[in-house]
Symmetry: C2
Subunit: 406 residues, 2 copies
């Protein structure tokens, strides 16, 4: 099966029919950059979300889950940067509810059609007058040109905007799937929060959207790591306006696989963009584990390799240090045949059937100095495979994260 | 119960009765430093060992396990640095067996009374002529003054020697327990291998020694992390000569707890010394988790906090960033009441019942700038507690591990 989707140049979260977006500065960031953003849909959109597994889940995540639980729809999704509203107790939850009520009132929708999320410093109460003042001004700031403004509002110390859009043909009609994300880095370095926002004009019910989001999250957003730390605020939300029309998309629809492929492309694009823009990163590292007995085993091993500080440091130093890779494979807690492992760096074979292979060190150095490193581990045990993404561990990672908060 | 043991000033692995040790340079290290060491006991000593959980266990570990399995005794324990003899296939195993045969012959003991271990670069075959030549010279180099020479032979890029010795009164007799360890750092930076060697003149059978070593390893060596990577060569071996005499030590012996306390002190001392001397470290970090529902939960949470790159970077930067600590607590996969957590840095309270507490930032900065940081997390759920040790994440860690191998 080939790619059944087309990447839309300069596509944003407002490219799918029915969506507008915008952003503004309400005073949470010290400089005049956007710190409040919103996605608005003309109609109540089918919605689905995935949330951090950290037990200290931030207040806004709870409120957004409640909203989606009500009827599986969202019409407006609010986000602020600069303050995570996490570990803020009862007052934090009240603040998240006030934000939801305010944004619902501003856009004239029912409260349970509004979601809220936050990213930034942990353990400080939101300056609510600033936030509420900003929310009031949002309806005048949204438009179908507002995708970039929204992207600015979710950035903190991210170096680049992360957004993409594809189009897929479903039942003869053009359907768009778009996404924007924020990765690791904050105005007060504190937590690497990942936020993802996806929009589509596909006609799809919430239950199918949720299932698809769960699957795609497992193979994309859940396969990246910058430093192994899971934020209290991680969340990916998708909204489907249905305005592309046509028959409802279900797994039985003849074009489901094409839609799924486009959806997965958007998820993987954003996930890789987050990894590449990890704090201090100079390169994207992709780890593929093949020949595993199960997909879960392949995923666990790929994530252990990509999460190894020693592997990450070696990539920063352009060191073809396969010993660190095999050591990470061996401690992943998954079935491995210690006699049959192959390791390649790009197309340079360094280990074959668990035996070291003489390779051209100069060529390896040249390859590892690039801004993309592919590590391929073949266990030669079974048919399952998985891919994970991360970045190198650099002086800048330490500098950024050793910086004093205030 | 107070401390029933006394630390012996300048004690080494040869302080317990019956032990001699030594080291020499056989050519595995490029400079003229010791790279081959041995501990020899006048009599076959009761022995016990714990080994890496990494599936790619190095060849010498298998050979040592076989030796101990034969009759629970070791009389000579050989170690080389500069080459790990890991991922070296059948030839590596043959080489480990040749080393065992050679050291047994050199000291005139049965082969199954000899153990071998290696640390250094992965995936290269040992230069056996150099190793065997060195082994031949070892008997002339061992003495009861040789503890320091042995310590030198196990060091690689470790900055400081790690050894200690305590004495305990057992049945009215003085019993010694000593230990030496190597931590993270190598001549070819490749793997952070932990090796521990303990000696005692206690009269104790192998089975009780093994049980005690398992217990103590769980609360000491297994509670440290430098970077979360588990070496292929990690190993701790203990040898008991029995030459202190007296009734055999068993858990029923009236002085068992005193012996156990001394044994645990030696294990904890070496574990902390390894953490403090972690690659690039500027400080020792100790994390205590109390008020947990179970000891396993307390241990898992303590290890997650000490393993967090964000917490480690914050300690390097002297940043009282408790948000990173609570986030690590929340992702440890253990039961936590999100409403009842207290966090202290030294004696500075930063979180009480999961609510942020205003604290003196200047005082916190002063405390965190020191070379020891104690993080105390009280879950306020139960009675169990655990302590873990690690070090900060620094520019030097990145520098050391980004360095090209050759």
């Amino acid at each position: 099966m080939g790619k059944d989707f087309i990447v839309v140049p300069d596509g944003t979260v407002t490219t799918p029919k029915g969506f507008q977006a915008g952003g503004l500065h309400c005073g949470l960031k010290k400089t005049e950059r956007h710190d409040l953003g919103v996605i608005y849909c003309e109609v109540p959109a089918a919605a689905a979300g995935v949330y951090t597994l950290n037990q200290f889940q931030a207040a806004p995540l709870k409120v957004t889950q409640e909203s989606i639980a009500a009827e599986g729809r969202l019409q407006v999704m609010l986000v602020n940067s600069g303050n995570a509203n996490a570990c803020t107790g009862r007052q934090g939850e009240e603040d998240a509810r006030s934000m939801r009520a305010a944004v619902a009132a501003a856009f004239g929708v029912k409260e349970h059609l509004a979601g809220v999320t936050s990213t930034g410093v942990i353990g400080e109460l939101l300056p609510m007058p600033k936030v509420l003042g900003g929310i009031e001004k949002l309806p005048a700031r949204v438009s179908i040109e507002g995708g970039d403004d929204f992207c600015q509002a979710i950035l903190t110390t991210d170096l680049v905007k992360k957004e993409t859009c594809v189009s897929v043909t479903v039942g003869g009609r053009t359907v768009h799937i778009a996404g924007a994300a924020k990765g690791s880095g904050m105005i007060h370095p504190n937590m690497a929060t990942m936020l993802g926002f996806m929009t589509t004009d596909a006609n799809i019910e919430s239950q199918h959207l949720q299932k698809l989001l769960n699957d795609v999250t497992d193979s994309t957003f859940n396969m990246i790591t910058v430093d192994g730390d899971t934020s209290t605020n991680d969340m990916v939300v998708v909204m489907a306006s249905g305005l592309a029309g046509g028959d409802a998309l279900t797994p039985e629809h003849p074009d489901w696989e094409a839609f799924r492929a486009g959806f997965e492309y958007v998820g993987a694009y954003l996930a890789k963009a987050i990894a590449r823009d990890g704090e201090g990163a100079t390169k994207l590292i992709e780890v593929t584990v093949s020949g595993a007995e199960s997909r879960d085993a392949a995923r666990a091993i790929a994530k252990t390799v990509i999460g190894s500080s020693l592997v990450k440091s070696a990539c920063f130093g352009a060191d073809a240090n396969w010993g660190r890779i095999i050591a990470a494979v061996g401690r992943a807690g998954q079935p491995v045949n210690t006699e049959t492992v192959d390791i390649r760096l790009g197309d340079i074979v360094t280990l074959e059937q668990s035996r070291p292979v003489k390779f051209d060190e100069e060529k390896a150095l040249e390859y590892l100095k690039g801004d993309f490193v592919h590590i391929h581990v073949n266990l030669n045990m079974g048919e399952a495979s998985a891919t994970a993404w991360g970045c190198d561990l650099t002086y800048d990672y330490v500098r950024i994260n050793a910086a004093y908060r205030t």
